[in-house]
């Protein structure tokens, strides 16, 4: 009986992903240990104390293992059946946060639980959105090439994001944009991606270049395109109008939209972070919100790029082979703020250098490709969309987190999957992966 059960549970489960999962969690705990380690204290005693971050993280890992086992023991039909209900529960939880939430580091997005642990519903909501999106897209009557269904799917993904922004968790909100990748796979027009990335490129160009120089460059590009396409334009007058419209939009964006976003939409500190990415200083006096604030309370602290600088120093000082396990001076000196959570990558970079980072990133890449492979072998749309949602979330987290520690992306507070200290985050990613594994194990069953 027992043996039969075992067979049912483990049959078809993708062990490669489980191994990758286990390795990454183990590396994460080691990294947290490096951050907390003090040579003068007896680490074994403080470990057994359970007060240190790494012992807590180990407890979290244990909890996650139990949760994972439970998920593997459940029937995969459960997830399809309850997907919408879960989503509703998640949204309600996030709304509840406004009432019973606890303020941690300036964002009121935590629900206090027993035993000093806190839960961040916005983290859990990723699972629910993935399920709900999969459920919605797998409905028989849905034709995703229609604008209406695209909008509904977008709304499902962005509802928690809006709530997150209201909770001052910009980083978590940004994660929900990653569902675009999953939707793209399901047929979202490529133009959206192209327009989106073009807009991003234009914003970056606006930041780096002088406004006039950029205008001239844009004009020159437009002229060059017209010159190259002059024969087609002769045949088709409409093409010229399109090119000129695009040119006008581009110049308009760089002239008015980008400054408007930085001065009126974003907070002062956010604008400063983005500007510091390209090595420029942002003048907070231009910021509308900062002006409003400074009239109400006078102390507007001028933020600086201390975090990025220290993070880059820590990673850069690792060199090719790194300083060695527990020998990182920046890690020991606590120079990098929030090192056990958002900046955990720096301890790895300092201790193990380029080689360590590269191998570690390869592990992640392998995990991503493995999930994509799993996604493509699904028979049911539900499983495939869910798998793509998972891989999108993972990809977004990894790319943004690593990029911000090495100075490629402005600092947003999102954790490194399976590595960063934090129970909510670890649990979320565990559940995401193990639901996927459960679904994958049952791929022979045709699900909707």
């Amino acid at each position: 009986m027992n043996r039969r059960n075992q067979n049912i549970v483990t049959q078809g489960v993708d062990y490669v992903v489980i191994w990758l999962y286990a390795i990454l969690v183990a590396i994460g705990i080691l990294c947290i240990f490096m951050v907390e380690y003090r040579p003068e204290t007896d680490w074994l005693a403080s470990f057994l104390d359970g007060k240190t971050s790494y012992s807590k993280q180990l407890i979290f890992a244990g909890v996650c293992a139990i949760a994972a086992t439970f998920i593997l023991l459940t029937d995969s039909k459960l997830f399809t059946a309850f997907a919408n209900l879960f989503y509703l529960f998640g949204i309600l939880l996030m709304i509840a946060t406004f009432a019973i939430g606890k303020n941690i580091n300036g964002s009121k997005s935590w629900i206090p639980l027993a035993g000093g642990f806190n839960l961040q519903p916005a983290e859990l909501c990723k699972i629910f959105v993935s399920l709900a999106l999969a459920k919605y897209l797998s409905r028989q009557e849905i034709d995703f090439s229609k604008i209406r269904s695209q909008l509904v799917a977008g709304a499902i993904a962005l509802a928690p994001a809006v709530l997150s922004i209201l909770q001052h968790e910009l980083g978590l909100a940004l994660v929900y944009t990653s569902f675009v990748i999953a939707m793209y796979r399901e047929g979202l027009p490529a133009q959206i991606l192209i327009v989106g990335s073009s807009f991003g490129a234009l914003v970056v160009a606006t930041l780096i270049l002088e406004p006039n120089v950029l205008a001239v460059i844009l004009t020159m590009i437009a002229a060059a395109v017209i010159f190259v396409l002059r024969k087609q334009i002769k045949k088709k007058k409409g093409l010229l109008t399109i090119i000129i419209t695009i040119w006008l939009v581009c110049v308009g964006v760089q002239r008015f939209v980008v400054p408007y976003i930085f001065n009126n939409v974003l907070e002062c500190y956010q604008s400063t972070r983005i500007y510091s990415m390209v090595g420029k200083e942002y003048n907070c006096e231009d910021n509308k919100r900062a002006q409003d604030k400074s009239t109400s309370n006078k102390t507007v602290r001028k933020p600086d790029d201390y975090n990025v600088r220290q993070s880059k120093i820590a990673i850069g000082s690792g060199g090719f082979f790194g300083r060695g396990f527990l020998k990182g001076t920046q890690t020991r000196g606590k120079y990098v703020p929030e090192q056990r959570t958002d900046f955990i990558f720096t301890s790895l970079g300092e201790a193990f250098g380029f080689v360590g980072c590269f191998v570690f990133l390869l592990l992640y890449l392998f995990l991503l490709y493995r999930i994509v492979m799993i996604a493509e072998r699904q028979r049911s749309t539900f499983s495939r969309v869910y798998a793509y949602s998972v891989v999108s979330i993972f990809f977004f987290h990894i790319a943004v987190n690593v990029s911000m520690t090495i100075g490629l992306f402005p600092i947003v507070g999102i954790p490194l999957p399976l590595m960063s200290y934090g129970g909510s985050s670890l649990l979320t990613f565990t559940v995401l992966i193990f639901i996927l594994l459960r679904l994958d194990a049952d791929r022979q069953m045709v699900l909707r």
Partner: protein, 696 residues
């Protein structure tokens, strides 16, 4: 459900790979090609602490420490980390105001950047240390550094032992790569300076890891890269501290110097330069104030080492050499006699003499007969052996050089002067090619252009005692742990004078012993010891005003087996027999018999110690300084009272006007060269006046 978008999974995989490559590229950039991050990390995380070794101890000849170490504390600050310091409390504890605090901070940052530790307040007094230590938690960025400082247990030997000073930027530039850092101390004068390399030892470096708040997190790699501090080597000197104490006591209230040498080894037994000061004066945190006070405001120049740093006409003590050279050159013999009727008339202008009568060499030395040596000197210069006077003088100088005159002896003290043995060329410049022996006749009695340092004079006494050889006078006999830098080698070379036969020496010894028995040194007899001595009295003038004579005395004892050669000089003390000679005799007795016997001799010590021989011109200057100070205090008080700047200007103007009219050392006659150093040079005076103005 159709799977029609399968190609898009490829696109997604490409996007993943693209981002992965971008991240790897940035990692390569950061970790492999940007050395700055490693550097920045080290700057962040390492705290390099210099461990100062104990400086070497200097022992006297009986292994008593005369220069040792004790512990003191520096208040050190890293200005960039000192934000949030309780400035008010700190200023209160240090007795400074906040303006001074800010100024010091600015200066430190300017001199030594704001991220390196600089000494904010050096050498705290014990009370200050206790108060600060309790409150250190209030002063982030500040720390107390233990530092070993010098102490002089016997309070003597200031001029010989020297003092330490903080390094300045100039010093650091000159001594690059020798491990000095801002805030370090180095031996600035005396033995401290000469034997700096030996005494300083080897600094140790400890590397600590510190955290983002600058707190130390423990040593780096358990100290694997630390270097241990190696203590400086101890020095064993030939100084006899009791003799030094006695010498300094006897030279109280006098300007002058004493050098006593062990003729057998060349080791200096005592070296007194008066007026002196308590060397511990220049160790505490009032060091700078005291230094400025003595360097700029004391007209007696206590920091000048008068034993090697000034030169005088040697006076009659030089006659012994004239006699020796005359005998050796064969221009006189023991039967040569000169009659003196109270003055020497051989050169037209009469040259005064102390004693009248008819003399051979021995009594001529004993009675210090000017005429005899004038005649001898002339005979040396007119010697038929030499084609002309130039070569005769050159030959005379060869003797003098072999006696260690006219050249630096090479004593192990800084800024030794060489004195002057005038060459024929020198006289060509003054008298033309056809100078006459009468032009320079004053040299015969040790006046004129001949100048020597007192150490050279003592060395001459040692040579006479040894009958023709000497070791370069030196203070340090041996270095613990070996003479690594070969600094003592030159003191092991036996120098010989020109070949001079035994009977010449005997003759001179006889004459010098006569000095003590019935001659000019009669008052300086040492009971029970055959002392050979020679008095000297040097005429001198200061700014055209004739002053009391300098008193000289040179001697060695006992005659049979000389163990001490000594030279004493007291500036403007009058006749040599009353001051310099008795001082020498007491020192000889102390050294040879280990104590002074007899109540009258002991009373003599007190009497000599009390004897006030400070030259009147110095007294005048000191009085002026004191009254200036008083006036300044008055002016400051007035200023404080009225708080106007106009009031202060008036007395300042008067002060500048009241300074004496143009004392120009360069214009004073040659004969005064000995004392020019003893008055404050004009430039210094000017600069001090300016300083006072700004300070007021």
């Amino acid at each position: 459900m159709p799977v029609f978008n399968q190609s898009r999974s490829r696109v997604i995989q490409f996007i993943f790979a693209g981002v992965f490559i971008a991240i790897t590229g940035q990692l390569i950039n950061l970790q492999l090609f940007s050395g700055q991050y490693k550097l920045a990390a080290d700057n962040n995380a390492f705290y390099r602490k210099v461990i100062y070794p104990d400086r070497g101890i200097i022992f006297d000849r009986k292994k008593r420490g005369i220069l040792e170490n004790t512990i003191s504390y520096d208040l050190v600050v890293i200005p960039s980390e000192a934000r949030g310091t309780d400035t008010m409390t700190l200023c209160r504890l240090l007795n400074i105001d906040t303006a001074a605090y800010k100024k010091r901070m600015r200066d430190l940052i300017f001199k030594n950047t704001s991220v390196k530790p600089s000494v904010f307040e050096a050498l705290l007094t014990p009370e200050m240390f206790a108060k600060l230590n309790e409150n250190m938690y209030r002063f982030p960025g500040f720390s107390l550094n233990e530092r070993s400082v010098r102490t002089y247990p016997y309070n003597v030997g200031a001029a010989v032992l020297g003092y330490m000073a903080e390094v300045d930027t100039g010093f650091l530039r000159r001594h690059k790569g020798e491990g000095y850092e801002m805030g370090d101390y180095f031996g600035s004068t005396g033995l401290e300076n000469i034997y700096e390399k030996v005494l300083m030892g080897q600094r140790g470096i400890k590397r600590y890891i510190r955290d983002n708040k600058g707190r130390l997190q423990g040593s780096w790699e358990n100290g694997a890269y630390d270097t241990a501090a190696v203590a400086g080597n101890n020095l064993y000197s030939s100084i006899d501290v009791e003799l030094q104490e006695l010498g300094e006591k006897l030279m109280q209230n006098k300007v002058g110097s004493i050098v006593a040498i062990n003729p057998k080894t060349g080791g200096i037994l005592c070296m007194v330069s008066a007026p002196t000061y308590n060397p511990n004066y220049l160790t505490g945190n009032q060091r700078k104030k005291h230094l400025v006070d003595m360097l700029y405001f004391d007209p007696r120049l206590p920091l000048l080492n008068r034993t090697v740093g000034t030169f005088y006409s040697p006076g009659s003590t030089f006659k012994t050499m004239v006699g020796i050279i005359g005998m050796n050159e064969g221009v006189i013999d023991d039967n040569f006699t000169v009659s003196c009727g109270g003055a020497y008339y051989g050169c037209g202008r009469p040259m005064g003499c102390h004693a009248a009568g008819t003399f051979t060499l021995k009594p001529a030395i004993s009675k210090s007969c000017n005429s005899y040596f004038a005649a001898t000197y002339r005979r040396i210069l007119e010697n038929g052996k030499y084609p002309n006077r130039d070569s005769a003088l050159s030959s005379f100088n060869q003797y003098a050089y072999s006696f260690g005159l006219g050249r630096r002896l090479g004593v192990d003290l800084p800024s030794e002067k060489m004195g002057n043995m005038p060459t024929p060329k020198y006289y060509h410049g003054i008298f033309g090619k056809n100078w006459q022996s009468c032009n320079i006749i004053s040299n015969s009695i040790g006046q004129g252009e001949i100048t020597t340092t007192l150490t050279q004079l003592a060395n001459v006494m040692a040579i006479i005692a040894n009958k023709g050889w000497y070791y370069t006078p030196h203070l340090i006999d041996s270095i613990e742990g070996g003479d690594e830098f070969s600094m003592l080698d030159k003191f092991k070379i036996k120098h010989k004078t020109k070949e001079i036969p035994e009977y010449v020496w005997e003759e001179v010894h006889e004459g010098m012993q006569g000095t003590m028995e019935f001659g000019t040194g009669f008052y300086a007899k040492v009971p029970g010891i055959n002392v050979c001595g020679k008095t000297g009295t040097v005429e001198n003038a200061y700014r055209g005003e004739k002053l009391k004579d300098h008193a000289f005395f040179g001697a060695f004892a006992p005659r049979e087996n000389p163990r001490i050669a000594i030279a004493v000089m007291c500036e403007n003390a009058g006749y040599g027999a009353t001051s310099a000679a008795p001082i020498a005799s007491l020192l000889i007795e102390k050294y040879l018999k280990d104590s002074i016997s007899g109540n009258d001799r002991k009373a003599k010590i007190e009497q000599l110690a009390k004897m006030d021989l400070i030259p009147p011109q110095m007294k005048r200057q000191m009085a002026k300084r004191d009254s200036l100070r008083q006036a300044q205090q008055m002016a400051a008080a007035k200023k404080a009272a009225r708080d106007t700047s106009g009031v202060q200007e008036a007395p300042e103007e008067m002060e500048t006007e009241s300074t004496p009219t143009k004392p120009n050392p360069a214009k004073t006659p040659k004969k005064d060269s000995g004392r020019t150093a003893a008055v404050l040079p004009e430039e210094l005076r000017k600069s001090t006046t300016v300083k006072r103005k700004t300070a007021a």
